[in-house]
């Protein structure tokens, strides 16, 4: 087992969410849910993180921001789209300024459904992301060997 499963650091970016999912992400850190039990730290800095949690859909103005932040994360990394908006744009999909879900801009590994997504669901998503992370780490090491 690689250590990445034991210490997945996350950071959270609010795409154009209504705050509903945001505060639920924050609630995960709180005494009731305490996601730090799994070694998760909310770093707030893309360079230090393994998991990017995006809430809300992508709009014209934050498209570049999301790309930049994603690009600044070191491999292996995982993107989790939290909530309906991040999945498809949700109720706002028809708005003129919405490009759509997160997958329109960066590759998404996992979707957590809900409007707003519940903390339990978010924690579950993070835990499921660990396997993806480990897989990616393995792939990365293999890639290195073959190169």
């Amino acid at each position: 087992m690689s250590f990445i499963k034991k210490s997945p650091w996350m950071f959270h970016y609010d795409g154009s969410s209504c705050n509903g999912c945001d505060i639920e992400v924050l609630a995960c850190l709180m005494p009731m849910y305490d996601i730090e039990r799994f070694g998760v730290i909310n770093t707030g800095n893309p360079k230090h993180s393994d998991i990017l949690l995006i809430t809300g859909s992508i709009n014209r103005q934050n498209e570049d921001v999301v790309k930049t932040l994603y690009g600044q994360m070191g491999n292996p990394k995982v993107v989790i789209a939290i909530g309906t908006c991040a999945a498809s744009g949700g109720i706002f999909a028809e708005c003129y300024n919405i490009l759509g879900g997160v997958n329109t801009t960066i590759p998404v590994d996992l979707y957590v459904p809900g409007c707003a997504a519940r903390p339990e669901a978010i924690i579950d998503g993070v835990i499921q992301a660990l396997d993806i992370l480990e897989e990616k780490q393995k792939q990365r090491k293999k890639g290195k060997v073959t190169k």
Binding site: Y13, N45, P46, K47, D64, V65, V66, T68, L69, G71, Q72, G74
Partner: protein
Amino acid sequence: MTWITFLIIFPLLPACLVLLFKSVSIQKWVVIIASALICIGSVCLALTCTQAEAQYFRVTPDIVNKLVATGDITLALVFLYVCRHLPLKRYWIPLLVVVQYGAVVWYDLSGRVPETTHCLFVDNLSVIMALVIGIVGPLITVYTIGYMEKYHEEHPEVPDRRDQFLSAIFLFFSAMYGIIFSNNITWIYFFWEITTFCSFIMIGYPQTEEAVHNSFLALWMLLLGGLGFAAAILYASSVCGTVDLRQLLTMKKSVVLLPVLLICFAGLNKAAQFPFAKWLLGAMVAPTPSSALLHSSTMVKAGVYIVLRCAPVLHGTAAGAMVALIGGLSFLAGSALAISQRDGKRVLAYSTIGNLGLIILCAGIGSHLTLWAAVLLIIFHAPAKALMFLCVGTVEQQTGSRDIEDMNGLISRMPLLTIVMLIGLAGMFLAPFGMLISKWVVLEVLARKNPVLPMIVIFGGELMLFFYVKWMGKLVAVTGPQPQQGEGIGIEWSALGGLAVLTVLVCGLFPFVGIYLIEPMYGCDPMLSRQAIRAVAIMLGLMLLLPLGFFIPRKDLVHVDLYLSGANVTDPHKFMDSMGTARDCSFKNYYINKYFSEEKLFPGALVGSIVLLILMFSMEKL
């Protein structure tokens, strides 16, 4: 004896030669050869004259004394001549000249000044000073050639009087050697005033209004020190009955303390301690070599030197403690004031004031151990500070600014110069380089004294660390590929390189300096345990080896852009601002004007130091 005479007399020759030959190329060769000879002379002196005991030399009194008297008169006339059109109606300047020279010359001619037979001497302190002057000085002189050439290209409005400038430098060498080898205080006084004159000439060199103003400021402040010296001569000859430095210093303290304090007053003045600090700051208008040579590494050291000479008398007296406190105050105030400055030369000027303050602090206490530390400080300070000045001068010529903020990312633009500069900066405050080693010694020594003194050293040292590190930070910031500058630094490299090597070298050699030069003089155990020396050696080794690590090729590094809160644009050093345009994200240092501005601290330091000065003289009887 030969070498002493050589060192005092010889520099006069190139001083005349550069005035005679106006051709730049001839001047260049004269300067190079003369500098080399001065350097060789100093080293030879060190090799031949290093002994535990001071050696005194008999000089035929008649002619030389006459010569000095004539010199005094000439100098007085010269001073009066330069005062012929005073700016701002400072009538007290000629008055100062007339009073002190009138008194001294009258005393001299009327035969009231006692005869001294052994006018010249040499001991290890003189040797160390000679080495400092004779190695750092010539390097700066060589640098001057290249610097002045570009200086005049860039400042066509300044009349080209390079010959006078070079001549003044050599005259200054002669005077400095005169000061450190004279055993007769009238002689010292004579040479002392020559250095004042050189300083005046050099500060006024650009001939701008500011430069003229500052040169006169320096003149009257330094003449004030001269006045103190003159008073010391009068007192010594009439009350103590001798002007022989050695005799004076071995007399009973109660008798001799006043003249010694007067000399210290002159020393404080020349070392630009508070309350006289202002002239040194004003002196920064002068071309950089003069700042490096006179106003940081050598001439101001003359002030320190004379206080060091007087230290045995100061030891254990309340007045001596006051001298120490003035030094301590200057150390604290100088270091604190440098924080709020962004002009590179001004920062260096303040840090010079601070460092000299530390030396004075040690000298004022006057025990053998503190003197030992003071000498170390002199040795380490000179090359590093000179190097820094020359670097700032070069940067100013290359980029057109000596503002520290404009040096942001210098390592991308002028890597080699930056590395040299970093060595200079590290030399000023970082372990295991010189200044820090001496601070360490000072702390070790002062720890057994009154806790005020170590606290002054600790706080001053931390303040110094603050402004030097933030300066270093500006230099090392990598701002991305930018056009390489730094073409056309020619002969200056020899000086820069030489000083950089010297800065590192003295750290490696300091135990030997301690053992062979300082210890015989003060006869004390330097307290540096083997173990500590080993620690220094390890750190120095690391400092030298670690940079090599940079050349180890490293693979699999992934370059990413800066973290700019996601507001990055394609240019890695720009971000998207609120108005939707790309903007530079350059960062400016902190200057903490709220606490460390000149307006707030300078008057306080002035008042404090004046009070201390008054206390110093009023405690003469204690």
